[in-house]
Amino acid sequence: MLTCCLIANRGEIAVRIIRACRELGIRAVAVYSEADAHARHVRMADAAFLIGGAAPADSYLRIDRLLDAAARAGCDCVHPGYGFLSEAESFAQAVIDAGLTWIGPSPEAIRLMGVKTDARAIMQAADVPLVPGFQSDDAADEAFQAAADRIGYPVMVKAAGGGGGKGIRVVQQRADLPDALGAARREAQHAFGDGRLFLERFIERARHVEVQVLADQHNHIVHLFERECSAQRRHQKVIEESPSPRLNDETRARIGAAAVEAARAVGYVNAGTVEFILAPDGQFYFLEMNTRLQVEHPVTEMVTGVDLVRQQFAIASGEPLPFTQADLHQRGHAVECRVYAEDPDSGFLPSVGALRLFLPPEAPGIRVDSGVGTGDEITRYYDPLIAKIIVHDMTRQGALRRMDAALRDTVILGTATNLRFLRWLISHPVFQAGEVDTSFIERHLDEFRADAPAPPDEALIAAALHDFHAARTRAPSNASDSGAAHDPWSQSDHFRMGTG
């Protein structure tokens, strides 16, 4: 039995894990950087430890300090969340070496899937379909050139050592390859400390479909069906859904089986996601495996009824999976929108600042996962995710309608957000038809009018009511310096709510 968990993360995923701990009766221990001293995950935890400065390299990436906090709190397990050290073999190993339980796959599985070229080789051996490509750890540009000619253009140059869209170049014609290799190598070296590259055929109008797997310590592996994540802007997922709107049952069964084979090939244990490219002709190809919980895991939870985070703890405790593949079914349709503090009007730049007001939507079939609330700061140090809004309904059409109502009801004032962009996207006929591919947003972004409309008179009247009321009820101590906002002795009374 696990009794006390160090959560080596921040934001909404730390909050999500704390909630799972509450239900399991596990003590939840948070860590935080100086920038997160007042963050929601710190307030919610049963204990919290400061582990360094705002920069991730000085805090959330400091293995020594994380383990020190775990020791001081008496933790017996560590959950890494996603991002930060969640896919760091060295962290998993250090946790295990410290005598703690790692809520995730073995360091060996992380390593095998972490180097994209190694993963390709293992998948090839396991008969998991791969995009035609070329890989070599020490190939000269000439060898890449010859391989690209063989694979055919357009061809994609990718980094062997990492993911997340970094180090990727699409080369349309032969003449552009040398420059692309140079640029991708520099970017990969900078991002991952590993300049190795590989080539893949570039599949046009491809979709991104991924499969959730769960594997216990007793050789049971199941998949929890697919998530469609083709709505991406610059390789970053924006909206995810399950089921995929364009997968027939036969392909669904095959892609699920392929994901299970991929996991089995590396002796995978715990929750993981196998990502595939789906070509317009219905063929799918292994892309990579994420050896951790995924941002978009809630859509799978809603269509399968399985609590993935609780299952992660159960698996790490040695419990067998409580279901077989035959017990699992997709029911209804779930959609997730990632609401970011970013400004579509200025190229989607992060919009930092205080959330003057955040009222999440609430209604049957809506779930909101968020790490912030009214008054919290969106800082420049971390991902500017405000909330994940997830809806579930019997049909895709119903779920999209529910999402539109949810986005409409979401009130976020104080920072710019992508809410209007999300509403534009889900209402687009191509999205409604379920025919978005991974480059759809780039191709159609000019259709989105980012500039906000002029305020109607009702908005001006509401502002006038606010200004009049604010002037009347402002306390005499005008303590509105935000630096002191968290000190109860100088608390600003800027935020107030009516008795209505």
């Binding site: 009247i461 509401a462 006038a464 009049f468």
Partner: protein
């Protein structure tokens, strides 16, 4: 009276509470009657009082105002009353400004009236107190810039004395 700027537009909003508790707003030239009720960080409004209901959420940050209404967020700025404008007006001997936000309860003079320094011009009600706005100097009421029922903000010019 409140003044806002949106894009290159300058829009004034004048609020007035009526005897039955409902409101009248004049936005530029347009007049609305509505009911308003304070709700969490915003207002439940109905245009007119038994008509369409909507909830507006409002946040301010310095001069910036943002309003969430019918799923859309509108951002604009408030034109703040300038200290120097007020002082220059009174420097000219004639601007009478509201000392606190409130509602005009009664006008005691009319345009063209001759007044003496210290004479009460109008009664303002705010925070359950009555406040008399007085003439800063002897003179003639050139303009009355507020009417009975008007809601005025701190520093707003109420009358000009010449």
């Amino acid at each position: 009276m409140f003044t806002y700027h949106s894009s290159d537009q300058r829009i004034t909003v004048r609020l007035e509470q009526r005897a039955d508790g409902t409101f009248r707003a004049t936005v530029g030239e347009r007049v609305y009657t509505f009911s308003a009720e304070a709700v969490e960080q915003g207002w439940a409004l109905a245009f007119p009082p038994d008509g369409e209901r909507l909830t507006a959420r409002v946040a301010d940050d310095g001069e910036s105002r943002s309003v969430h209404l019918r799923g859309e967020i509108y951002t604009f700025t408030r034109e703040m009353e300038r200290r120097n404008r007020r002082s220059s007006a009174s420097g000219g001997g004639g601007g009478v400004t509201a000392q606190m936000p409130g509602q005009v309860r009664e006008l005691l003079v009319a345009e063209g009236d001759t007044v003496t320094r210290g004479q009460a011009l109008l009664i303002l009600e705010a925070m359950k107190m009555e406040l008399r706005a007085v003439a800063p100097a002897d003179g003639v009421v050139k303009r009355l810039l507020a009417g009975v029922g008007d809601v005025v903000s701190r520093g707003q010019v109420l009358a000009e004395i010449e």
